[in-house]
C-alpha cells in the first residue's frame, strides 16, 4: 500500500511526521508516535533484525543523552510545576540539579530519535531511487544534486560492507576497539577511518569514470522512467495527514497538552 503511494504524498507524510514529533515534549505523546510508526513499520514488514542492529550501538548515546538533559535543563525552562521539581543535586551548594522535566525531556529525545529512525527506514524502503529523483525533479532541484543524493543512497550498503571488512582486517592485526576514554577511542578509530576515506575516494573515482562511460552529463536532463501522478489513494492520504496535523496543532496550542 505505502509502496504504491506517490512519492510526494510520502514526503508530505514524512514532513508531517517530523512536525508532529517536534510539537510535543511529553514522552507519553512521543511514545504514542513511536508506537504508531512502529506499527507502520511492522505493517510493511521492515527487517526487524536490521532495526535492532541499528539500535543496539546507540545505547551508550541514549544513556548519556538522558543524563545530560537531566542535569542541564534548568527548572525555568519548563511550564509545568511537576517538571520543575528538582530530584537531587550533583554538586554540593545546590548546583547542577537533576530535574524531573530534564529526564522526561531526555526520554522524549530518545523516543523521537527512535521514531525518526523507523520513519526514515519506512520511507527509504518503500520508495525507489527513481521516485526520489522524480521528487527532486518536481521540486526543481538541479539534476546534479538529485543525482548526488540518489547515488549516496545507492552506495550506503557498499560502504557499510567496506566498513565491516576494514574492521575485521584491523582486528586481525590486534586492533582493539573496546578502549575506554575519548582520546584513545578516537585514535583507535583512525585505522578504520583512514582506509574508509581512501576506499571512498577510490570508489568515487571509478564511479565517475563509469558514469562518464555511460553518457552521464551529455545533457542536463534525462528520460523519466515514469511520470508520477496522484491516484485517489494519494488524495485520501493527504486529507488524512492534514487532518492529523490540524488536530495535533489544536491539541498542542489550544489545549496546551503535551508540553513539559
Amino acid at each position: 500500500m505505502i509502496h504504491r503511494l506517490d512519492v510526494r504524498t510520502k514526503m508530505l507524510g514524512f514532513l508531517g511526521f517530523i512536525m508532529l514529533s517536534f510539537l510535543f515534549q511529553d514522552p507519553r505523546y512521543q511514545l504514542l508516535i513511536l508506537v504508531l510508526t512502529g506499527l507502520l513499520a511492522y505493517w510493511i514488514d521492515i527487517p526487524q533484525r536490521k532495526m535492532i542492529g541499528m539500535l543496539v550501538p546507540l545505547i551508550p548515546i541514549i544513556v548519556s543523552i538522558i543524563l545530560i538533559t537531566g542535569f542541564t535543563f534548568a527548572p525555568e525552562r519548563f511550564d509545568r510545576i511537576s517538571s520543575q521539581t528538582i530530584l537531587f543535586y550533583a554538586l554540593p551548594g545546590e548546583r547542577l540539579g537533576a530535574t524531573v522535566g530534564g529526564f522526561l525531556m531526555g526520554t522524549t529525545f530518545i523516543l523521537r530519535l527512535f521514531s525518526m529512525m523507523i520513519a526514515s527506514s519506512v520511507l527509504t524502503l518503500t520508495t525507489s531511487m527513481d521516485d526520489f529523483t522524480q521528487f527532486f525533479h518536481k521540486m526543481k532541484v538541479p539534476v546534479e544534486i538529485s543525482m548526488m543524493l540518489t547515488t549516496a543512497i545507492r552506495f550506503i550498503p557498499t560502504l557499510d560492507k567496506k566498513r565491516r571488512l576494514i574492521i575485521e582486517a584491523q582486528k586481525a592485526r590486534g586492533a582493539n576497539f573496546n578502549d575506554k576514554g575519548i582520546i584513545s577511542s578516537i585514535r583507535s578509530y583512525l585505522p578504520i577511518m583512514i582506509p574508509m576515506f581512501i576506499n571512498s575516494i577510490l570508489i568515487a573515482n571509478s564511479l565517475s569514470m563509469a558514469m562518464l562511460n555511460r553518457g552521464y552529463g551529455l545533457s542536463r536532463t534525462w528520460t523519466s522512467m515514469r511520470e508520477i501522478a496522484f491516484a485517489p489513494r494519494d488524495y485520501w492520504t493527504i486529507v488524512l495527514i492534514v487532518l492529523v496535523m490540524t488536530l495535533a496543532v489544536f491539541v498542542r496550542f489550544r489545549w496546551h497538552l503535551g508540553v513539559l
Binding site: 584491523q170 586492533a175 564511479l207
Partner: protein, 587 residues
C-alpha cells in the same frame, strides 16, 4: 583496406600521468579491424589500463597528463569527441563491478545510459530487456543490484555499456575480482556476444587458458610499448617469451617446450590443451620413454611425512556449526585437525564457507556450536586481538587495512597493538622488511605503490607478529604472473621455516603446486580432504562443486593407464617420464 573497416587506430600514442616521470604508454601504433576479438596482455604496469582509458577519451578528458599522438575510434577523434558521446561507439567495462553499478535495481541500472541520451521510455525498456538477455540476466529486471553475485554484477556492468549499442567493447580485466564460476560466466557471455553481433572486442586479461581458442589475436604490452602481436597459439607456445613479459604459461605447453627444446617435436606441435598433450605424450613415450613413474612420487610422499616429526596440533575443529544472524546455516558440523607445519589449501566456490571457516581460526567469528581450538587456545574464550599474536590473517584486499603514511609505520601497527616497545619494534620491522624485500620502500607511502606491493605490505604487516599459523585469503588476486611467483615464494619460505599455512584460493594451479593438503568445502561442509593428488583426481565430485582440476591433473587422468593412476601436478613430473638426454639416476 577500406576506412570503415577499421575499428581502432592509434598512431604514435604516448601518455604520461601528471605526477609520473616516465610515460606509461610509449609510441603505441595499432590498427584493429572491425569484428575482431583481441586480447591485450602484459605484466602489471605495462600500460594496459592506461591504453584502454585512452580509447574512450577518459584520457585526456577526465585524467590530465601529457598525451601525444592520434587516437581514432570508429572514425571519431578521441580528443574532439566528448567521452559521453564516445560511449555510444566504444563501451568500456572496468575491473571492479561494484563501482560501476549506479542503479538500485538491475533495470534502473541498465537504463542509466540510454536515459542520458534522452531515448524515449518505451525504446529504453525494449533495449534493456534485449541487453539483459544478451548477458544472461533475463528476468532480473527488478532484482536489487546489491544482492547480485560477483559474476552477475560484472555482467550487469557489461549490460550497462552494451545497452548503448557500441561498435567496440573494451573490457579491462573484467574477471579479476571474480571466482571461477563468475569468470566462466563472463567468458560465455563474451562468446555469445561475438556470435550474435558484429562487435569488436578488446579484452585486457591476465589468465590465459580459456582465451587461447577464443581470441583472434593477442597484443602484448611491455613497459608501455607494443612488444608482440599475433595469433594466441604462437605466443603461448613460446615459453621464454611469455616468461620475459610476465605472462603465465600454460602447464601443458611447458611440457611441450621441454620436448621442443630436446628437438623431439616441432614448434607447432607444442600442445596448448590437455587433449593434444595426451596425444603427444602417447606418441612420444614408446620412442623416448623410460617407464619410471613411481619412484619420484613415492619420494615426495616420504618427504612430506618426515617434514613434521613432532605432529603438534595447530588447529582442532570439532563439530563446528555456524549460523548467520539471519538463521541461515553457513557451516554444518565441521571436524578437522590441522597439524603444525602443514600447508593447507581451502578451496570451493563462493559461498561454500571457506572464509567463514577461516575467520573462526582467529576468532573473528565464534562458533554457534562446537569448538575451535587454535594453538591450544579455545577461540570462543579469546578476543581476536589476543589471538592475533599467534594467528595471522591476511585479507584479500590490502586496501582495507593500509592506513599509515609509510610502509614502516604500517608494519609497526600490529606490534604496537600487541604491546611491543621501542627497540623490539624496530628490530622486528627491520627483519620483516628484509624478509619480504620491502626494504627499499620503507618510507614510501603505501598507496603510491602497485597492487602486488600493497599485497606484500599486508602480508608483512602480519608477519611482524611472527604468527605460528598464517591464514592467507586469495593472496594473488589481480597480481600478474611475476607477482604471483614472488608471493608464493614468500609463502613457501615461511612454510619451510615451520609456519602452518592455511591458504584460501581459487587458483587451482597454485593450490596443486604449493599445498600439501587440500580441503574442499561445499555448502558449509567438508567434501574432500586429502593430498592435492588425491583431491584433484576426484573429477566428478569436484565438478559437482563447480571446480575444475588444474590442467596437469586433467592430463594425468587422461593418461591413467600409463601413469598407473598416479596424479602428477608439476610439468617436471611428466618430463621425467622421458629420457633427459643426460643420464638420470634411477631410485
Amino acid at each position: 583496406m577500406e576506412l570503415d573497416e577499421i575499428a581502432i587506430e592509434l598512431s604514435n600514442v604516448s601518455y604520461r600521468y601528471p605526477s609520473a616521470v616516465e610515460p606509461c604508454v610509449k609510441n603505441v601504433s595499432l590498427t584493429i579491424k572491425k569484428g575482431r576479438f583481441i586480447v591485450l596482455m602484459g605484466a602489471t604496469g605495462a600500460g594496459k589500463t592506461t591504453l584502454s582509458l585512452c580509447l574512450n577519451g577518459l584520457i585526456p578528458q577526465l585524467l590530465e597528463g601529457e598525451l601525444t599522438g592520434q587516437i581514432s575510434v570508429a572514425g571519431h577523434d578521441v580528443r574532439k569527441t566528448a567521452v559521453q558521446s564516445l560511449s555510444r561507439v566504444l563501451g568500456l567495462v572496468l575491473q571492479d563491478p561494484e563501482t560501476q553499478i549506479i542503479g538500485r535495481t538491475v533495470e534502473e541500472d541498465t537504463a542509466f545510459g540510454p536515459r542520458n541520451f534522452l531515448i524515449p521510455l518505451e525504446e529504453i525498456k525494449w533495449k534493456v530487456n534485449q541487453t539483459l538477455e544478451k548477458v544472461r540476466l533475463k528476468g532480473y529486471n527488478q532484482r536489487l543490484t546489491e544482492e547480485l553475485s560477483g559474476g552477475e554484477k560484472q555482467r550487469l556492468a557489461i549490460a550497462g555499456v552494451l545497452v548503448m549499442e557500441p561498435e567496440i567493447l573494451v573490457l579491462d580485466e573484467p574477471t579479476s575480482e571474480l571466482d571461477p564460476i563468475g569468470r566462466s560466466e563472463i567468458y560465455e557471455t563474451l562468446d555469445d556476444l561475438r556470435r550474435k553481433k558484429d562487435l569488436t572486442i578488446l579484452l585486457v586479461e591476465h589468465s590465459s587458458e580459456e582465451l587461447i581458442y577464443k581470441a583472434d589475436e593477442v597484443i602484448v604490452l611491455n613497459q608501455g610499448e607494443v612488444a608482440w602481436r599475433g595469433v594466441p597459439a604462437e605466443l603461448f607456445r613460446n615459453i621464454p617469451l611469455l616468461l620475459q613479459w610476465g605472462i603465465k604459461p600454460l602447464p601443458v605447453s611447458q611440457i611441450g617446450w621441454d620436448f621442443y627444446a630436446k628437438g623431439w617435436i616441432s614448434f607447432d606441435e607444442i600442445p596448448l590443451d590437455s587433449l593434444s598433450a595426451e596425444a603427444l605424450i602417447r606418441a612420444l613415450l614408446p620412442k623416448y620413454g623410460h617407464r619410471h613413474a613411481r619412484g619420484q612420487s613415492k619420494d615426495r610422499l616420504l618427504e612430506q611425512e618426515t617434514h613434521s616429526p613432532e605432529k603438534l596440533t595447530a588447529v582442532q575443529v570439532s563439530d563446528l556449526t555456524y549460523q548467520y544472524s539471519s538463521g541461515q546455516p553457513a557451516l554444518r558440523g565441521i571436524n578437522l585437525t590441522i597439524e603444525a607445519g602443514q600447508f593447507v589449501a581451502l578451496i570451493g566456490q563462493n559461498g561454500a564457507g571457506k572464509t567463514t571457516l577461516a575467520k573462526h581460526f582467529n576468532g573473528l567469528l565464534k562458533p554457534t556450536s562446537g569448538e575451535v581450538i587454535v594453538a591450544g587456545l579455545n577461540t570462543s574464550q579469546y578476543d581476536t586481538s589476543e589471538l592475533s599474536k599467534t594467528i595471522g590473517y591476511v585479507f584479500q584486499n590490502p586496501d582495507h587495512q593500509i592506513f599509515a603514511a609509510t610502509v614502516e609505520k604500517e608494519l609497526e601497527f600490529g606490534l604496537k597493538n600487541a604491546g611491543y616497545k621501542g627497540n623490539e619494534i624496530k628490530e622486528r620491522v627491520e627483519e620483516v622488511l628484509h624478509y619480504t624485500g620491502l626494504e627499499r620502500l620503507r618510507s614510501v607511502h603505501p598507496f603510491s605503490l602497485g597492487k602486488g606491493e600493497r599485497q606484500m605490505i599486508a602480508v608483512a604487516s602480519i608477519l611482524v607478529l611472527k604468527p605460528k599459523l598464517l591464514i592467507i585469503d586469495e593472496p594473488t588476486t589481480g597480481s600478474d604472473w611475476a607477482g604471483v611467483q614472488t608471493m608464493m615464494a614468500l609463502i613457501r619460505k615461511l612454510h619451510a621455516a615451520g609456519t602452518t599455512i592455511i591458504m584460501i584460493s581459487h587458483d587451482m594451479d597454485l593450490v596443486a603446486q604449493y599445498a600439501k593438503r587440500v580441503i574442499v568445502l561445499k555448502d558449509g561442509g567438508v567434501l574432500l580432504d586429502g593430498t592435492p593428488q588425491d583431491v584433484f583426481s576426484s573429477d566428478q565430485i569436484l565438478l559437482d562443486s563447480a571446480l575444475i582440476p588444474p590442467q596437469l591433473c586433467r592430463l594425468s587422468a587422461q593418461l591413467k593407464d600409463i601413469l598407473a593412476n598416479e596424479t602428477f601436478i608439476e610439468a617436471s613430473e611428466f618430463t621425467a617420464l622421458f629420457e633427459s638426454g643426460a643420464k638420470r639416476v634411477c631410485l
